[in-house]
């Protein structure tokens, strides 16, 4: 008998280590820059054919006071806190159930839903009306993973997208946001006056192999993020198992944030 299974695995494992070990140690030894907060691509980017989110509102209702996801997102992206609805800039926020789902709401609704709040954000629609109206292509749907992205360099502040979005997901910077950002993070840009902003499904974190900030921050496991095109993904499993609703489905925007109620 030549070589048995155990020995083969040992030898091949050592070979792989020997081939890759050198380059791996080189990468880590030269990583002397401690100023960068987010690590440079620790485990490769997270990729998908179609990113989608599932939000379990029942879990959110149990933790009425919790706003960890909102804080995490707004801290990660240098979102200013103006403290008034007129200047307000927001990427993810809580909305009353009847406002978030006014098509599904009725007078004799379950008591728990009447007073419920829903976590809302950009729905990263499959058919995004904001993209259709943008005159400069400052916002567009990424071919690769369906994220509705924004290029703040190119935004001219016309606010067509703000009007086109049926979910109120877009905020306009009426004034310079910098003085109202509690603590500016150096690894993410701020915006400037005259620019529209919104949730980007944390594409900058996905590129570093990290889950979106809100998903990572949720201690109660109410937020799920995954690939809609992958039949074995967590979101597909949830959608197959639970009854889920979306915001304003009748408009044909095909939102990709799903809610378990």
């Amino acid at each position: 008998m030549g070589i048995d299974r155990r020995k083969f695995l040992k030898v091949s494992g050592l070979t792989v280590l020997g081939l890759t070990g050198g380059s791996v140690s080189k990468v880590f030894s030269s990583e002397d820059s401690t100023d960068v907060i987010q690590p440079v691509r620790p485990a490769g980017p997270l990729t998908a054919q179609r990113w989608a989110m599932v939000i379990d509102l029942r879990k959110c209702q149990e933790q009425h006071e919790c706003d960890d996801c909102v804080t995490a997102c707004h801290t990660a992206h240098n979102v200013p806190d103006w403290g008034n609805p007129k200047d307000e800039v927001k990427w993810i926020w809580k909305e009353s159930f009847e406002h978030a789902f006014h098509e599904q709401e009725h007078h004799y609704q379950q008591e728990k839903l009447k007073h419920a709040t829903a976590l809302v954000m950009c729905n990263h629609c499959d058919n995004p009306p904001c993209v259709r109206v943008c005159p400069t292509k400052a916002t567009w749907k990424r071919e690769a993973d369906g994220i509705v992205m924004m290029d703040w360099h190119r935004c001219i502040g016309c606010r067509y997208c703000v009007l086109a979005c049926p979910y109120g997901s877009r905020s306009f910077n009426w004034r310079d946001p910098r003085p109202k950002i509690k603590k500016i993070r150096p690894d993410f840009p701020t915006r400037t006056r005259g620019v529209v902003e919104k949730c980007t499904f944390c594409e900058e974190r996905l590129a570093r192999g990290l889950m979106p900030a809100c998903v990572e921050a949720c201690k109660h496991g109410a937020l799920y993020f995954g690939d809609l095109e992958d039949a074995h993904s967590n979101v597909r499993a949830l959608l197959a198992e639970r009854y889920t609703i979306r915001r304003k489905p009748g408009l044909g925007t095909n939102p990709e944030v799903y809610y378990i109620v």
Binding site: E31, V40, M149, H153, I184, R185, P186, T190, E203, A207
Partner: protein, 130 residues
């Protein structure tokens, strides 16, 4: 020609006035002081910039524009310069990580050249907020 003397004198005076900056420079009165730019952070060898120094001097703005398009529109965030580790295509996180003092590096030369880029309206200078 009427008043030939006055007309010709006027032309000569105008020519002298228009070409005055050239005469003045040729006379060597005006000296140009090229700004003294601060070197990159000590711990980093000067050869480790993402591209050649002379090229960077003339083309860093093109590089930054290319990076902007590649990162934002292409989702292509990382690159590996020859003989170097993996780098992020980022003004705040990569350029300013070595060129720590924006005021003694970027601003000094921009002021000298009379240009006023608006990169820092949005992009953060890490040192200023630490």
């Amino acid at each position: 020609m009427y008043d030939a003397g006055k007309v010709i004198l006027g032309i000569v005076v105008a020519l002298v006035l228009v070409t005055f900056p050239m005469w003045y420079n040729l006379a060597g009165e005006a000296t140009v002081t090229v700004p003294d730019l601060e070197k990159a952070r000590d711990s980093i060898p000067s050869t480790l910039c993402v591209a050649d120094t002379v090229w960077m001097r003339g083309h860093h703005m093109d590089l930054l524009n290319d990076w902007r398009d590649q990162v934002v529109r292409g989702g292509d965030r990382f690159f590996r310069p020859p003989g170097d580790r993996l780098r992020e295509k980022s003004l705040s996180n990569t350029c300013l990580d070595c060129h720590v003092n924006k005021d003694k590096f970027c601003d000094r030369c921009h002021t000298f050249m009379g240009v006023d880029p608006y990169c820092w309206d949005c992009h953060v200078v890490p040192k200023e907020i630490m």
